[in-house]
Symmetry: C2
Subunit: 211 residues, 2 copies
DNA sequence: GTACGGTTTAACCATATAGTTAAATAAATT
DNA sequence: AATTTATTTAACTATATGGTTAAACCGTAC
């Protein structure tokens, strides 16, 4: 994968349009399922413009994935630092992720496909981002256990529980709501969440790991 | 259960060889990323044979996905029925899923990609399978709540928590273990699971939803 | 207005890939 | 053994798709 970032100093309206179209298209169809022609068409731009402005399909994808997944890593550390107790920190951690996913609906499909592909297309920058997020969680769980608030857990499993729950729920609840195939008796039993998804997940995870 | 015999001894089971190769290839590269030629090559068979024996790419994929995802729905009801209390039933439910995923490593990537694609390629049979699994969980949670054992929950969220945790963990732990990019201090904090993944997830989920 | 540099475009190219066909081969049937 | 049927194969086709090119376009400085 060729990594090449576009010039963020000089904001380019055409490049912006292309990246937005690319983000949507990659999220919808995945890397292999996405056709460069469709990105160009959605962006309302000639294909050659796309190559002139950003580069080939790989570069396009690298930009999108960096833009989409980089956000979480950027903001999560300060968000967590604002809290005092391990409980509050974990809550802030989960709320931040849920909020980021809420604001970027492209995160779930893109992350799921990347995981399915063993991160084959992930640029190193993004991998480092992901690791930094995981490290923050490890810190929180560690502190909580040291203070006798949390039980002993396997951080990686807790991380997967948080991410898995949020991404799966976010991605599938619109389908569930729209689709006809879900029988009414199941739908009836399935109330809406009381609070936000982040609140609900934080509440469940805290119940699971608090002493 | 899926027969995982790679049978080069029996030259007659051409279709079997093809389906096994298809399953692996689709799991690895997804629908769009998979080339029919590669399946044929992996199966050690001419491409035309593949079309003669099974059909086009879509048919091939439908077969694979039915074979892979249908299993869970087949066995989970009897597995759960064997248990008495809601707690035991939920445990049996989670253990069965974890076990199925354990035996079929193709489940995580295929399900993740299907979710990412909003189930675009899912045949109706498979959708019905998935719904039937969800209905069993709803029944368990319902009974547990009626008996005052479980707190009130949103079944769909619990389902996503169980599936998300198991699939994400299963899919990413081999990467985590092998990859160099995970820093040692994170690895050090991250012990192996005490029991099986199913045990661990069941334990966490039960902690989360028990009164 | 015109010459120039950056930007966009239609048309084009090379290759990859899903799917087909007619012939060869193996298996079954008589 | 001869004939028919089922299965496999190499070669081929049509199309899709990532990527390129040379020309046109457009704003700006002179």
């Amino acid at each position: 994968m060729i990594k090449q970032q576009i010039n963020t100093e000089k904001p380019n309206k055409t490049a912006e349009k292309i990246l937005i179209a690319a983000r949507k298209t990659f999220a919808e169809y995945g890397y292999s399922g996405t056709h460069v022609d469709e990105i160009a068409q959605r962006a309302g731009v000639n294909k050659a413009t796309l190559y002139y402005q950003i580069g080939d399909k790989d570069t396009l994808y690298a930009n999108v994935i960096h833009q989409v997944l980089g956000n979480i890593a950027q903001g999560i550390a300060p968000a967590v630092a604002g809290a005092d107790s391990p409980e509050e920190k974990l809550k802030a951690y989960i709320l931040f992720i849920a909020d980021a996913v809420d604001k970027n609906p492209e995160i779930p499909p893109i992350m799921m496909r990347e995981m399915a592909a063993d991160g084959a297309h992930l640029p190193r920058v993004v991998v480092e981002d992901i690791v930094s997020v995981l490290k923050i969680l490890v810190g929180i769980l560690d502190e909580g256990r040291a203070k006798g608030i949390f039980i002993e857990t396997v951080p990686f499993l807790i991380h997967m529980m948080i991410m898995g729950t949020i991404l799966f729920y976010k991605k599938s609840s619109p389908i569930k709501d729209k689709q006809v195939w879900l029988p009414d008796d199941v739908k009836a039993r399935d109330k809406k969440l009381k609070g936000s998804l982040g609140d609900e997940v934080a509440w469940l995870v805290l119940r699971a790991i608090k002493k």
